[in-house]
Amino acid sequence: MLSTLNSLFIAAVLAGTPLLLGALGEILTEKAGNLNLGVEGMMFMGAITGLAGSYYYEQAVKNSGGEPNGVLSALIALVTAFLAGSFGALIYSFLTISLRANQNVTGLTLTIFGTGFGNFFGEFIGQKAGGYVAVSSTTKAAFSKLQIPVLSDIPVLGRLLFQYNWLVYLAIALAIFMAWFFRKSRVGLNLRAVGEDPATADAAGIDITKYKYAATIIGGGICGIGGMYMSMVTTSGVWVHGCVTGYGWLAVALVIFATWSPARGMLVALIFGGLTIMRMYINIPGLPVQIYDMVPYVATILVLVITSMRQSKEHAQPKSCGLNYFREER
């Protein structure tokens, strides 16, 4: 029983990490007043480019007769995924911030585009590679669990806390950093003002456009890393058609459950990560597996309804979220 719970916890952390990354990216974006519903699209873009980055790096090294370096390969995946997510967010930013398009529709379009982008290039690269695209064991190893000296060897605790892949720790570090950033830093304070009340922030001399672009693009990059996690860790470096489907939207929902707090995001990501994989660890007799699959989505709806029933001033969506700002509007 206890070992089942331990395994569940570990699996929940692993499944929750891409959700956390997606949610963190979206929190940053929404703090700047941009409601980017394109998280799923950006995750797809990150997923395929991350995979493609590693794959082409390996091919290039192998073709020149060398041996690919796992760490370098992982780093390339990280950077390309971040850039791809940022690119998606850049399109979104340009359309909504500079061209004032409707945020909802632009976000949805980004999801359609990104999903198409991911699946298209996934298949395309797969075709060229002769069927499907997969990275070598070197890169796979770079994304498997770490063996930290001493810490990883602690009985029980070592397994529970210190044997994850490096992206898990990156996500946690990012969450902690963002919590500090919003609460303590000057730039974070300014960013919150931009999201709450852009006209005020503008009058206070804050460059709204710069802040909105920066937050949205970096946020998109983080979402892209979340997507890369899906293709490199969850599916072990093999492109699976539609591998991100649903996860991006769960990440958007997590932002609401985390009440826009990166720190709480870690907790809810763990819970939802757990819900998505629970069926593999806890068997409920008589419950068909497909019905079990609904659990995270049903839970999302329940939490959505419950959170909407009680309203709070401070733990709420930034007030200008979803609205575009134009200084000379009249």
């Binding site: 379009t109 699946n119 699959d293 309804v305």
Partner: protein, 364 residues
């Protein structure tokens, strides 16, 4: 003091246009459309193909023969009806992105009668029953988020979206369990008998006539009826609606029922007219693509007719380029995304004009 106090005026400024003539506005939209095709063309070029021949092959793939024309129309029918359904919700700024789910539950409800009652009920009443079942199921599925939105302001975007995944899981459950076709080793649902299938008119199931009727009906509903007027008021401002004595909750619920019902109808048409069975792919992204159809057409039903046929052409055509050029069929999604990005962006140039530094007009 500030180093830029000596600088000139900003490089680019934007000014709201007074009003642009319809002609010019459509000119800008047309230019954006062409630009989006050029961008798509550059992408094709980067993949090592000739954009013109790829585009040409797409068009021929969609319109080149009677068979493919029928295919194209078959794709556009669900798109069009779903877009009309979604526009009901979008007009009141209710972001129903649960079209997929509503289509699926409509398909399941209609499929129930089609699969299990076809022997005991004659064809005409059976089809009517299937239509009603599909519409009611889809409508109720749309009703749920509307009620929560009306009561507590629950975020409908995520709610409707989650319902998609739930409906999908439910269909998988039916395929694997209760509805699994007898004697099949694969998880799949049996085919409908001839009695439950829609009659074809000019080679395509009669859903296309229904779709055309719905275009006209929706247009009248939006522009001429009290309910249509109420939807517009609610869409502009909930407060004004309340002030005018409009029961906002009632409008939410009624309109979302209609929206969901139309999507449910699509599910029925897909089952009885196109696929003759229910699969995970019954909705096949129609619920999402229809959003772009409705938006590109600016919620105008006649516009949706044109846009849905165009998008159906892209989708049909992308199958052809997959065979001819080995370009994956997901290219259609990619291209739709690009076109929509351009169309969203070009609205800015219809509302505003840019003034470059030193180029200020002297006719002032």
């Amino acid at each position: 003091m500030s180093k830029n106090t000596q600088a000139k005026e900003p490089l680019i400024r934007m000014v709201k246009r007074d009003t642009l003539s319809q002609q010019k506005a459509w000119g800008i939209r047309a230019a954006a459309f062409v630009l989006s095709l050029v961008t798509g063309g550059l992408l094709i070029l980067a993949l090592g193909h000739n954009p013109l021949s790829v585009y040409q092959s797409m068009v021929i793939g969609a319109w080149g023969s009677q068979t493919v024309i029928r295919e194209t129309i078959k794709i556009s029918v669900p798109l069009l009806i779903t877009a009309i359904g979604i526009s009901f919700a979008f007009k009141m700024k209710f972001w129903n992105i649960g079209g997929e789910g509503q289509i699926l539950v409509g398909a399941v409800a209609a499929g129930y009668f089609g699969l299990f009652m076809s022997e005991s009920i004659p064809k005409v009443p059976l089809v009517v029953l299937m239509i009603l079942a599909g519409m009611i199921a889809g409508g109720l599925y749309g009703l749920l988020p509307a009620m929560c939105k009306a009561k507590w302001g629950t975020n409908e975007t995520l709610f409707t979206l989650m319902l998609n995944y739930i409906a999908l899981a439910f269909i998988k459950y039916l395929m694997n369990g209760p509805w699994k076709a007898k004697g099949s080793s694969f998880p799949k649902i049996a085919m409908l008998t001839q009695d439950a299938r829609l009659t074809k008119i000019f080679g395509v199931h009669w859903g296309w006539i229904l779709a055309l009727v719905l275009v006209v009906a929706a247009h009248i509903y939006f522009t001429k009826t009290k309910q249509g007027y109420e939807i517009s008021v609610v869409g502009e401002s909930n407060n004004t609606a309340r002030y005018a004595g409009i029961n906002v909750s009632k409008v939410f619920i009624r309109t979302m029922f209609l929206s969901g019902a139309l999507c449910g109808l699509v599910g029925m048409l897909q089952v009885a007219g196109a696929d003759y069975t229910i699969t995970e792919g019954t909705a096949g992204g129609v619920g999402f693509t229809a959003i772009t159809v409705a938006w590109l057409a600016k919620m105008n039903p006649y516009g949706m007719l044109i846009v849905s046929v165009f998008i159906a052409m892209l989708e049909r055509g992308s199958n052809t380029i997959q065979t001819n050029f080995k370009i994956p069929a997901s290219a259609a999604d990619l291209l739709i995304g690009i076109i929509l990005f351009f169309m969203l962006g070009c609205e800015f140039f219809i509302t505003y004009r840019l003034i470059f530094r030193g180029k200020e007009e002297h006719h002032a």
